[in-house]
Amino acid sequence: MIEETVIIVLKVIIMKSYDILVIGGVAAGTKVAAKARRGDIAASIGVLTEDPDISYAGCGLPYYLGGVIQTRRQLVVRTPEELKRYNGVEVLTRHRVTSIDPDGQTVAVSNLETGGKEAVSYGKLVLATGARPVRPPIPGIDLGGIHVLRSVTDADSVQASLEGKDDGKVVIVGGGFIGIEVAENLTEKGMDVTVVEMLPQILPPFDPEVALHIQNHLKEKGVKVMTASKVEAFEGDGTVEKVVTSGGAVDADLVVLSIGVAPNSALAEDAGIELGLRKAIKIDGSGRTNLPDIYAAGDCSTVDHVITGDEAWVPMGSTSNKQGRVAAITLGGGDDAFPGTLGTTVVKVFDISAGRTGLGIREAKEKGYDPVSVTVPADDRAHYYPGSRRIFVKLIADRGSGRLLGAQVHGRGTIDKPIDAMVVALTMGAKVEDLTKMDFAYAPPFSTAINPLNLAATVLTNKMTGYMDSISAGEMKERLDDPGWDGLVLDIREIPEHMIGAIPDSINIPYVEMIDRLREIEDHKDKEVVVVCNVGRRAFEGYLRLKHHGFEKALVLEAGTKGWPYGLE
């Protein structure tokens, strides 16, 4: 009995113990540790992580592969030694936590280098375990040459595989953000890249026609894109040589799996911590789990959606850092809350960029809104100023309330500015009407006298009030594909413009001749007449004239032929 007590006492004395213990050391984990230190200079703070690296820029990995970022060290924001020296945080890398004992306030730890096991006790515990790449049980998935890309170590092994294969064949499984960024970077290196996506579109957070514009651009740049293609097997002798998909087989020297990620929450689940959407650790806005003294932040945890207020899971480095800060303040006794995510993302794909925030059309419908949207092309700066480029602004709003729900912007010009302005508008609950007259910055090198967001909101107002009836490219395509549609596509551009590329089956009557030639389309007076120009501006003028002449079902094709992603004839 006495011996047992002595052993327990000894264990407590020799056991590592931290006032604040963080599991995970990438974005959220190191943020929590650094912020907690600022809040409490005296506390003992420890970080346990399986990875040999901490505090690295996971989102920078595609650019590291492409050589845009030249050295490994640039990706690492802080080394364990720096975190120790500057922040007084003890970091144990290559240490895996195998279980949590919430009642005893201890975690069981395996040292992955020595195989040794120990217990570590904590006052407050923060789970920042992140997310892991999904590796579905596809035959042959364990062949050599099949990689994921999540950690710097993953990037090292891809780099090693790429060695001496500068013109090799790469298959990227999954057309999400990482997959597309890797596709761009490896194509720029001269490699032959194919993206295989199971869904009908790449980049699922974008509405289908926006994603199709990006897909078209990838093809222009030599990337092969196979959508609606499911990987059935990987074949090869030791190393992958072929990827068999439902859309055909593709030769491969290297495969990058970027199918998606899943939260690392098994440890939490085993400890009795409640999980939420997608099995992410359920936390309140302040970072608390359902158990006392246990908090979570980053990719392993849930987050609220700013617009719907519903629980969401949107693993993003930008969110992780903010959640980490909030959790650190909360566990230090402070009062802070993270209002949530809008699912804001932005991506560069060769010469174009695309960004989105808030709800897309499909999400908005799923959440019970009645979404109305419009896509408006605009110049990112004065059309006469050198470097001016076109962007396409899609705004989505709730028809009944007029509240803005989301935005998606793509094009060769600057798109992150309207996206970030929309983040503010959405966060503050702005309505379409508010956006029509906001005082955005203007001088020719920066913007246009009618700012793209002012313009798009005005066009959306026209549509919502019934002053203009318009349809999106997607809605036009549905009509063209419907054998029962008896409408007419009226292209009112000049003859050479129509020659260059036109919507299939459209007829061409230039705008200036339109009124004199209305007899030619008289039989469509009671049917839909979709008016088409390059971007939609002339079409709106033409539409107003048609309406005036009794074409009650006239419509404008939003974004015109320039915004038509389905192929022109």
Binding site: G387, M499, N534
Partner: protein, 75 residues
């Protein structure tokens, strides 16, 4: 006898430049060359597509990011 023509479409916006090319080419003889300068960025893809459709030869297409210079030989 091959003739050369110049048109200056700097400052013109869509669809100005391509309409000017269309009108001018119609008045030219086969083998004649048209030189055109344009500031509207959309012209870069438009002129390639138009030449592809019409069979006129795009003998030069230079784009410094701000200004496009193209030469077309009429088919």
């Amino acid at each position: 006898m091959m003739a050369e023509f110049n048109i200056d479409c700097k400052g013109m916006q869509c669809p100005g430049p391509i309409v000017e090319v269309f009108k001018k080419i119609n008045s030219m003889e086969s083998g004649d060359v048209l030189h055109i300068e344009v500031s509207d960025h959309g012209f870069h893809s438009d002129i390639q597509a138009w030449c592809g459709k019409t069979g006129n030869e795009l003998v030069k297409l230079e784009d410094n990011g701000d200004m496009i210079a193209a030469s077309i030989r009429k088919a």
